[in-house]
């Protein structure tokens, strides 16, 4: 199987045309302030007031390389970059005839073709971009590490169109591997067929349909049995928020108390989306659900959600983390750590799963909704362990207003200005609380030599 490579991503909607990327490129590549030396070009579109991009895509089937008669252009198999060799180039410009992106171009003042080389893995243009329009996507390692591993769920799972849970569980089990026993309490994940139907199983590992109330307890017992016979098996729950935060909470809490060596993954779609979109304990304030309707007396849910991942940090878990499928590299790193931790203690992962069907947004928008949850601080990505405390893994320096997130989703369309302001206050309060936890984490309180720094308690 081929390799996957990191790349530069362009969000046209965020580009403000400042041109800093071009200047940074010209300086990095030619120590020049002359933008003719830039390998990246931002193109203002006067009519639509938007910006377009011309940049080498480092194609997997590079026509520039195919068109090169001198062998000066080659696709580097290690890093995916199209390398240009000045020594053998004859300046025939046939490469430019092969490129549909204006990614390899000629400037008379330079005298030869130029193209992006990704600055050896740390692109200057991305560093210079202050609007967030350019990003260096570094998730290629996920594909390279896991693409050839077996998908341990069967084909034909019947998740709703646009559901990110199927994406999530396939990625998860592919990484956790075949020596795994899975508990799937009632919810969307067994509902889509993972536990099987008509006498056939939906997974290639042992999977069972636990009760809403007992997944953690059953897994704890199974793990003890495997430990007793000396087999290294990961026991894992793929539960919804009902099976974790509501009906499932008693057994989850008890397993956390005992720090049972299990991996518990809560796939949080903020309610009982599988059974008719009823409200749960983690349904946010203001949400329309079938049990918190919008009408004369009620305008969606009146109470706040409970912040389950934070609650889990107050138990005795060995590891707690939040995750989003819009940031899969972050998730993979946390999952890897959780699998290790779960050999000896409880690892709890809380993954957010926006639901196109139950929340009412277009099925094409799921990943964008996931991303906006993070960019507005509606959810925060962090990890926690008792030794090091809480650490943000994807801090958002300048969060977007929560309104931008709410406006994407049907279940919030009725919200009044007061309700939106209320949600913004809740978001601000919760993120401030997490910042307090992070600031007061044991790792931060320790000095460089491990001694405790003095903390000014008056502050």
């Amino acid at each position: 199987m081929g390799m996957c490579f990191n790349t530069v991503q362009f969000h046209a909607s965020r580009c403000d045309g400042c041109g800093d990327c071009m200047l940074a490129c010209a300086q990095a590549k030619s120590a020049s302030a002359d933008l003719a030396h830039a390998r990246i070009r931002i193109l203002p579109d006067a009519a639509s007031k938007t910006y377009e991009l011309a940049l080498c895509r480092q194609c997997a089937d590079p026509v520039c390389v195919m068109n090169c008669p001198s062998g000066a252009l080659t696709k580097n198999e290690k890093n995916g970059i199209i390398d240009w060799n000045a020594g053998s180039c004859v300046n025939c410009l046939l490469c430019t005839a092969g490129c549909a992106y204006a990614g390899i171009t000629y400037e008379a003042s330079i005298g030869h073709v130029t193209k992006c080389d990704l600055c050896g893995g740390d692109p200057a243009c991305v560093r210079a971009c202050s609007s967030g329009a350019l990003a260096h996507r570094t998730e290629a390692w996920i594909f390279n590490a896991y693409a050839e591993k077996e998908d341990l769920f069967c084909r034909g799972l019947s998740a709703c169109h646009g559901c990110n849970s199927e994406l999530l569980i396939r990625h998860t089990l592919r990484m956790v591997g075949p020596d795994t026993v899975v508990a799937a309490p009632p919810g969307c994940i067994p509902g889509m067929g993972t536990v099987g139907y008509n006498g056939e199983t939906g997974a290639k590992v042992p999977i069972f349909h636990s009760l809403l109330t007992n997944s953690a307890t059953m897994l704890a017992g199974i793990k003890r049995q495997y430990n007793r016979v000396g087999r290294d098996v990961t026991v894992m729950a793929l539960a919804g928020d009902g099976g974790t935060a509501d009906a499932g909470f008693q057994s989850v809490s008890a397993a956390a108390d005992r720090n049972d060596p299990i991996l518990f993954i809560c796939v949080d779609n903020e309610g009982y989306m599988n059974t008719g979109m009823q409200s749960s304990g983690v349904t946010p304030y203001g949400s329309w659900t079938s049990t918190t309707p919008v009408g004369g007396a009620m305008q969606g849910k009146r109470t706040e959600s409970k912040n389950l991942p934070v609650i889990m940090t107050m138990h005795n878990c060995s590891y707690v983390a939040t995750a989003s499928t819009a940031y899969l590299d972050d998730y993979y790193r946390k999952l890897a750590r959780a699998v290790e931790v779960a050999k000896t203690g409880m690892a709890y992962l809380h993954v957010y799963a926006p639901c196109p069907t139950g929340w009412r947004f277009s099925s094409a928008m799921t990943t964008e909704v996931c991303r906006m949850q993070v960019l507005t601080n509606f959810i925060a990505l962090w990890e926690y362990d008792p030794e090091n405390g809480l650490r943000f893994t994807h801090p958002v320096a300048t969060p977007l207003p929560v309104r931008d997130y709410l406006s994407l989703i049907g279940k919030y369309q009725h919200l009044s200005e007061e309700q939106i302001a209320h949600i913004q206050r809740t978001v601000d309060t919760r993120i401030a609380f997490l910042h307090q936890l992070a600031a007061a984490s044991p790792a931060k309180l320790k000095g460089p030599n491990g001694e405790r720094e003095s903390v000014d308690t008056r502050a």
């Binding site: 011309a54 068109n67 001198s70 410009l93 430019t96 000629y106």
Partner: protein, 419 residues
Amino acid sequence: MQHSNYLIVGSSHAAFEATSAIRMFDSEGTLTLLTRDAHLPYSPTILPYVVSGRSQPDDVVLRDDGYFRNNHVALVRGATVASLDPAQSCVYLASGETWRYERLLIATGASPALPPIAGLDDVAFHVLRSMADAVRLRQAIGRAKTAIVLGAGLIGMHAAENMAKAGVAVTVVELKPHALSGYFEPGASAIIEGTFARNGVRMLMGRTISEIEPHGEGCRARMDDGAQIASDLLLVCAGVKPNTTFLAGSGIDIEDGILVDDRMRTNVANVWAAGDVAQARGLWGGKVVNGILPNAVEQGRIAGFDMAGDAAVAPFAGAVPLNTYSFFGQHAISVGRGARSDGHDGLEVAETADATRGTYRRIVLDEGRLFGISTINDFVDAGVMWQLIRRRVDLSALKAQFVADPRQIGRQLMSRTWR
């Protein structure tokens, strides 16, 4: 008898892209390239640079032994194909060897065409199509003081420039009224010809040699107007003809080249053709031989995918002429049919030239869509222009802006298309 699942005759761009495409689908099936050349594979396009000394013969190898080993591809050098018998699925080599195939690709390219000039057979002359030609020509230039280049096409003009730079007194003789008339209209050609003239090259356009005879080591040509030119060296580059003589009696349909459909299939089962030897759909209708490198790349790829059984192969959209040409440090680019608009009425032409900056730009539009663009010392992204033509992108709303700055507007349009 030898056997190969995939047999490819030829070893240049079309052949290699077909090889890559086949290997994407079928990593095991035996794949053999037959080439009459003794040298490791190279691009004919690089030859003028070998003549000038810019490139060394050993440095321009497109695929080395390691490539053939790693991809389980056999390269048979010095193998000249003499005939093809599709009924037996066999090609026969001049050496007497027989190769049986399941699927055959003919990517034999083209050879120099020799004009019917009285006496040409009796004089020593050069052509430029193989590495051996290039090495021989380079040596001859070192010894020559005077030279005649017959034909002001790409190869001839490149060679004339090399000779002039090497201090040889060169005369270029071209039957057509202008140099590079396949790609550039008279206005642009005049600029190119002027540059050559300023660099000491004698440009005899619209002229021809009526008779030629040996003269010492070299030759003496009598021109159509009776004038006589003697030279130490004669280079004949009066066009090329597809290499199809070995197909006589094979039943394969040949017109200007081997006629192929949009998947590069010939009329005969299990035989494909691609590159300079093939005559395929032209973007503006009919079937054309489009003997340029990017065309060989694209056709080779399509042929390879189809040979390997890719049901989803994207059919050939149609050939578009394209050329990027550098001369005496200047650059000329031509995409589309700006220079050869015969049979098309109502074209809109926007031409600008700046004599002091030495720049030239001509844009030809057909009902708001790009039909051809040619520039000198005014860089446009040829690949982007090619896409605008191929995709018939409607430029009506942006016409004024495009004519003013085709590079910027072209990049913008492409970026939007890909997003």
